[in-house]
Each structure stands twice: as C-alpha cells, then as structure tokens.
C-alpha cells in the first residue's frame, strides 16, 4: 500500500483537523455509492479509508510515523464490506426506486412509457422506422409510376409513386421498417424521393413550363406547331405576330394532383437561323431602315 500521507494528499506535519478535512473531501469524491458508474471508485475509496484509519487516529499515526507499523498494517482491519450500490443495481423494481420523485408510474417521463408508448409490461415495442432515398424520372413524378427498389437488407419493395410527387417528398410505407419487439408492430420505411431534372419541362407548382422555339416566319405569320407535354405531344396554334416571351397556356396539360390540375405554360422564343445568309441580312437591314423601331424603348430610362 502506498504512503497514507500521499493518499490523503497531506504533508507529514498536517494537523488532525487537516487530515480529517482531506479524508472527508476525498471520501465524498470517491464514495462508490455516490459514483455507481465509476468502477475504480470502490478501490480508491477503500484505500482512502485505510489511509485514514491510520492517520485519523493520533496514536496509530504516531506508531506509523515512528515505523512501528507499516501502511499495510491497517488493511487487515478493513472488513469486507457491502456497498449500497450492490443492492440498488439489482434491477428495475428495486424498492427505493422513485422514492426521489413525486410522480406515479404513469408519469410520461418514465423511460419505458416514452420508448414503448406504455409501461414496460411485456416489453413489446414498435420497430424503428428506416430511411431510404431514391430517384425517379421527371415524367414518373408527374404522372405517377410503380417502382421496384431493393432495400439495404436485400428486401425488394414495390413503391407507388403518386402522380404529382414533389422533389424531396417523403413516402411512408407502413410496416416496411424494422420488425417490432415482443409482438410490437413493425416500423415504417420512409422513402425520400428525388426527382430528376428534365431537359425540356420545368415544374412550377402544378404548372409545367417549357420554351417553344419558333422561326421568325412562324412567329410573324402564325403557325400550328407540335409541342411536347407531359401527357404526350399536342398541336399548338401560334397566333400571327407572336413574339419572344409571349406565353401560351395549354389548359389542364400540367400536373395532375389531388390539389387540382395544373396547366402547361409555353414560352415562345424566336430563333434566328444558325447561319443567316447575306440575303436575309440584307433584306432585314433594308426593311429596318424603312421601318425603324426601338425594341429597347422600355429600358431607355433605366439603364
């Protein structure tokens, strides 16, 4: 055994009162019943008690100081003792449980009722929810689809993607999570669905937007043009004299959802030929010279 002075952290010339104070401080800090999670507390506490057994008694201390007894002499006098924590940790139902609280067993703070929704009787518990993510095509999200996915545990699931599903929406599949405990019902699978971008269509709430390129001739003279929509191509009549930025509405051709059906909004864009020839350039320049107009009139004062 180590030097009892060192154990209590006092000098050889310490007074009895100083030794008592040091012992009380150390004993409180290491008492195994007050530190149930600390495995080393019991050994430290016994060492402290043994050191105090020598130094706390003036006569014994004098004999130790003179070398008459050594530090281990005191150890034999420490009977094997039972600490309270050996009883208190025997398990739920210990008689001193809840003595510290006013509340009854139905208290919602009770750990078991919080976890399992009721008192621990029978220890049944709902299985936990499991999260997954998956991706679907833009058209699948708009029109709805059936998807088969393989879960992390090898299980396959058929997932119904509802028409009008939004990017990031979470689908709850009842009972497809982890199995329950002791007859408890299984948890749910929570599937977060990401919607891929589409090269032509953009979602705007329940409306679909797309850009429709036109030749200058189609825009000026009007035309009937084939337009892709989420429910298949339709023939759209572009009125005579339409301009870039004009928006034509295809009613009911947007997203079908429980909140109602959206429209498809077609934005017109006049596109010049990729390689305009001399002819076109000349005739347009000549036309503009005769019929001058300023397309930037609106911006004139703001820029």
């Amino acid at each position: 055994m180590a030097d009892p002075y060192q154990i209590l952290g006092v000098g050889r010339e310490a007074t009895q009162e100083e030794i008592r104070k040091a012992y009380r401080r150390l004993a409180k800090g290491n008492h195994p019943d007050l530190h149930p999670g600390d495995k080393g507390a019991e050994a430290r506490f016994k060492e402290i008690a043994a050191a105090y057994d020598i130094l706390g008694d003036e006569k014994k201390r004098a004999r130790f100081d003179s070398g008459e007894i050594d530090a281990s002499g005191a150890e034999r006098q420490q009977p094997e003792r039972e600490f309270y924590r050996q009883h208190a940790e025997t398990g739920p139902g210990f008689k001193y449980e809840r003595r510290g609280q006013e509340s009854g067993p139905d208290d919602e703070d009770d750990v078991f009722s919080r976890i399992f929704g009721r008192r621990s009787a029978g220890m049944s518990a709902r299985g936990s929810d499991v999260g997954y993510t998956m991706s679907v095509e833009f058209i699948e999200a708009v029109n709805g689809a059936k998807k088969r996915v393989t879960m992390a545990d090898g299980k396959t699931l058929d997932i119904a993607i509802p028409a009008g599903l939004q990017d990031g929406q979470i689908l709850r599949l009842r009972g497809q999570g982890r199995p329950g405990l002791g007859g408890g019902e299984p948890g749910d699978a929570l599937v977060e669905v990401h919607v891929a971008r589409h090269p032509i269509f953009h979602r705007d709430g329940n409306n679909i937007r797309s850009v429709l390129p036109l030749t200058p001739g189609e825009a000026l003279a009007g035309a009937v043009v084939r337009v892709p929509t989420v429910s298949g191509p339709v023939q759209l009549r572009v009125p005579k004299g339409s301009n870039t930025g004009s928006i034509l509405r295809l009613r009911g051709k947007g997203v079908t959802s429980p909140q109602g059906n959206g429209d498809h909004l077609v934005e017109l864009r006049v596109v010049l030929p990729e390689h305009p020839d001399e002819d076109l350039v000349r005739s347009l320049t000549q036309w503009e010279a005769k019929h001058p107009y300023d397309p930037r009139k609106q911006q004139g004062e703001q820029s």
């Binding site: 039972e82 009883h87 208190a88 398990g91 210990f94 001193y96 510290g100």
Partner: protein, 111 residues
C-alpha cells in the same frame, strides 16, 4: 424475524454510530423503508446497506441531515435511471446485428 430481515436492535448493534432515535427519525422521513409488523421493524439487506451509507455520510463525512435528503433523492433517481438503462442495454444486446447497428447509428447521430 424469519424472512431475511433483521430487527431494529440487531441493526443498531451492527452499524457504527447508529442510535435508535436517529434510526426512527430516518424511517419517519422515509429515507429507509423497513417492513412493519405492528410496532416492529424488519430491515432487509438493502435497508442495512442504506442505513450504513446514511451513517457514513452523516457521522463520518459530516453531511448535514438536510443535505442527506437531497443526496438520497438524487441517488435514488440515479440508480433508477441506471437500472432502466441496464434493462434497455440488455434488450438492445439481445437484438439481431442489424437492429443493434441501427440503434448505434441513431445514438451516434444524436451526438
């Protein structure tokens, strides 16, 4: 007594510093919960260990009785929580590997 308990007098003889007056006071305060048989009290092993602890806190570590009630209340809550935690840990340990892994991941995510 025959049911594994000891009587008041035996307890007082067995525990250093303990006297009858203090013991009755602690029982009245609800710090110790012996079995009652008319006027006789029966202390089981956990009562004995608890009385020994209270004596130690009071007579050796010089904790006032007012403070001891706070210490005991916190201690009882701590032990109840630990029992609950141990029950939970045993339940978790009895689960299949993927369930334990799921719980471990969630606990970790909670920081």
């Amino acid at each position: 007594m025959t049911d594994g308990t000891i009587a008041e007098k035996e307890l007082i003889d067995a525990v250093a510093h303990l006297d009858a007056q203090a013991l009755r006071r602690w029982v009245d305060l609800g710090w110790v919960l012996p079995q009652r048989d008319g006027d006789n009290l029966g202390f089981d092993a956990s009562d004995v260990a608890r009385v020994r602890l209270i004596c130690e806190l009071h007579y050796e570590l010089r904790i006032e009785e007012d403070s001891i009630s706070v210490v005991l209340s916190l201690m009882d809550q701590l032990y109840e929580t630990r029992c609950c935690l141990n029950a939970l840990l045993s339940a978790v340990a009895a689960q299949p590997e993927h369930v334990r892994a799921g719980i471990a991941a969630l606990v970790k995510a909670q920081g």
